[in-house]
């Protein structure tokens, strides 16, 4: 066959094989890091034991920490072994096996470095907790302060939880209404579109704490009949007003992300604009915006703490009362722990929902 212009007949020369990459240097770095980590862990374990007056639990914990910190030595050792084999194979002129061994050795050295770095960071945190002769631990992590404040704290935290749940339900509804208002078609929809736009702009601009102060303190003054109401409800109103503006934006982004062909298909079947929204667009949009919605919900949960500025007895106000009484910040740390404990399971739950929805649609 004659040569065509599309095919080049000149062959490339065979490239010369490359040398195996070095191993021992990396392994040495791993070793240094591992030793630093072990030294730090031993120091931290000793501090932990001293701080707890040689208590049994703290001694056992310290031993466990030190044993764990020894782990990076093993991949370091393996890396050095591989390095030695690499040298031997190279002397034998076995290039390809030498390259393989070198690659495996570098992998081991990198594992050692990764784990040693982890040990350094964790033991560093532990050391920081016992810094200043246990001053840090005493200020933030005093078990006795936790014990004293716990019953009152958990009761106060219940307020945060139900305020958040009620506000979230209201935000879901009100936010969707705002989002739909912003998407109303035609001239007839123009005034409502404008109202929704202005609402979202204003309430995203005002700091949540300002809205809370205005609503909770202002409403009883403006309408004396509401003075007997529980201020918590006004707090819920304020949070709902603020967060609806954010959630409306999330919904709107979700609705806008549905391909126009979905709307065309629904309309072509004779469904009205409202029916299309309700049966086709909103259900798909809601599924898509669950992760960003959860983000806003976690913010909302945390912002229930702002109700403390309006003298509502939620967990942060309670913790700061205990803090001034005990002259110790451990109750505030406890409040932080409460928020962490309720937030993380929600994040995992939403991950689960997303996975389940994807799996169902893919037929698994």
């Amino acid at each position: 066959m004659t040569s065509s212009s599309l095919v080049n007949e000149e062959l490339q020369p065979t490239p010369t094989p490359s040398q195996p990459r070095p191993v021992s240097g990396l392994a040495a770095v791993g070793l240094v890091l591992a030793v630093i980590g072990i030294a730090m862990t031993v120091t931290a374990a000793l501090r932990l034991r001293d701080y707890n007056d040689n208590g049994v639990i703290s001694t056992i914990l310290g031993i466990i920490f030190v044993v764990c910190s020894l782990y990076p030595l093993w991949p370091t050792f393996r890396a050095f072994q591989h390095g030695a084999r690499r040298t031997a194979l190279l002397k034998d002129d076995q290039l390809v096996p030498a390259r393989r061994v070198a690659a495996a050795g570098r992998e081991e050295a990198q594992i050692a470095m990764g784990y040693a770095a982890g040990v350094v960071i964790l033991s560093g945190i532990l050391l920081a907790a016992f810094a200043n002769d246990g001053g840090v631990a005493h200020t933030f992590f005093t078990a006795d302060a936790w014990r004293q404040s716990f019953p009152e704290m958990i009761r106060a935290f219940w307020t945060n939880i139900w305020v958040a749940v009620v506000a979230q339900v209201l935000v879901l509804i009100f936010g969707l209404l705002l989002a739909i208002m912003r998407m109303l078609p035609g001239r007839a929809g123009a005034p409502l579109r404008m109202v929704a736009l202005v609402y979202c702009d204003i309430f995203r601009a005002i700091p949540a704490i300002v809205t809370i102060l205005l609503i909770v303190f202002g409403t009883p003054l403006a309408f004396p009949t509401t003075a007997k109401w529980d201020p918590v409800w006004l707090g819920i109103v304020a949070l709902t007003m603020t967060y609806s503006a954010y959630v409306a934006e999330v919904y709107r982004a979700g609705l806008a992300s549905i391909h126009p062909s979905q709307s065309a298909a629904a309309r072509s079947l004779g469904l009205s604009y409202t029916q299309t929204l309700r049966t086709v667009l909103v259900p798909q949009a809601v599924r898509r915006v669950i992760p960003p919605l959860l983000n806003d919900f976690i913010s909302l949960q945390k912002d229930t703490a702002l109700l403390s500025t309006a003298a509502i007895a939620e967990v942060v106000l309670t913790s700061s009362l205990w803090q001034s009484q005990l002259f110790n910040l451990s109750p505030v740390t406890l409040a932080a722990a409460f928020f962490i404990i309720i937030t993380i399971p929600q994040a995992r739950f939403v991950d689960y929902l997303i996975d389940r929805d994807a799996a169902r649609r893919a037929g698994k």
């Binding site: 062909s261 065309a264 298909a265 079947l269 469904l271 009205s272 049966t279 259900p283 649609r361």
Partner: protein
């Protein structure tokens, strides 16, 4: 008076004129194929008939009823005119059965049990009854397109518009879908279809229209258009189709 009358329709997107005065009559039980290059306005014409696009000039009438312009009950029009899209456009959050039952229940006011019965019968006729509880993402393109056809048929339309419904399918799945369309044609359903399947157009079309740059350049019976096209643009288009092995 023809069943579907398209009279001097103009459509533009901003400055860009896509349809430049298209006129076309479709008689009852007739199957009209629109052929032409991409961008010639085939899809736009179909979308205009279903009022998914607004037209700037001209009128479209179904059985003498003007269905374009102000004061038209679009939802009523769309009940009579079904459309199937190239990209299926099934609702991904609903099962196959729910996709088919949605419009009969919400729009036609059919009872749930009757809608279910009719949907199952239709799915059965295209060999999809066992997929009724499945979701669209679990189906192949050909299966999705069969469901889309059934979804449109469930509203018992008087005209079906098919917009290049096999263009997105793998070659071996095209046959199943075309078989259904063939059956609909033999059953006497009035259809207006844009297609690149020339062989199929030749077989089912009672009239073939060649669109070029927003106008119907040539129209006539399938044999005439494919065997002895008069216009040079039609000849050029068809010779390219032959070269690509599609005819």
């Amino acid at each position: 008076m023809a069943f579907l009358e398209i009279d001097n329709v103009h459509k533009s997107y901003g400055r860009h004129e896509v349809l430049k005065g298209v006129s076309l009559n479709v008689e009852r039980h007739e199957v009209v194929c629109l052929i032409g290059a991409s961008g010639s306005g085939k899809s736009t014409l179909l979308r205009c008939v279903n009022a998914l696009e607004e037209i700037q000039e001209g009128t479209i009438r179904i059985e003498g009823d003007t269905v374009t312009g102000a004061g038209v009950d679009l939802n009523a029009l769309r009940r009579d005119v079904g459309i199937v899209f190239q990209s299926y456009n099934l609702f991904p959050h609903m099962s196959v059965l729910e996709n088919v039952m949605l419009a009969p229940i919400r729009v036609a006011g059919v009872s749930k049990s009757e809608a279910r019965e009719r949907a199952m019968k239709l799915l059965d006729s295209v060999g999809m009854e066992d997929k009724a509880p499945s979701y669209p993402d679990m189906l192949s393109g050909g299966q999705q397109q069969r469901v889309a056809i059934v979804r449109a048929l469930a509203m018992q339309p008087r005209v079906m518009l098919l917009d290049e419904i096999t263009a997105a399918l793998d070659p071996e799945l095209v046959g199943d879908v075309l078989e259904i369309v063939r059956e609909l044609a033999h059953g006497g359903l009035t259809m207006l279809l844009a297609t690149h399947e020339m062989g199929f157009a030749k077989e089912v079309a009672s009239q073939v229209c060649f669109l070029d740059a927003g106008q119907i350049l040539e129209r006539g019976p399938a044999e005439q258009i494919f065997e002895e096209p008069r216009e040079p643009r039609t000849q050029q288009f068809l010779s390219r189709v032959v070269k690509s092995g599609r005819l």
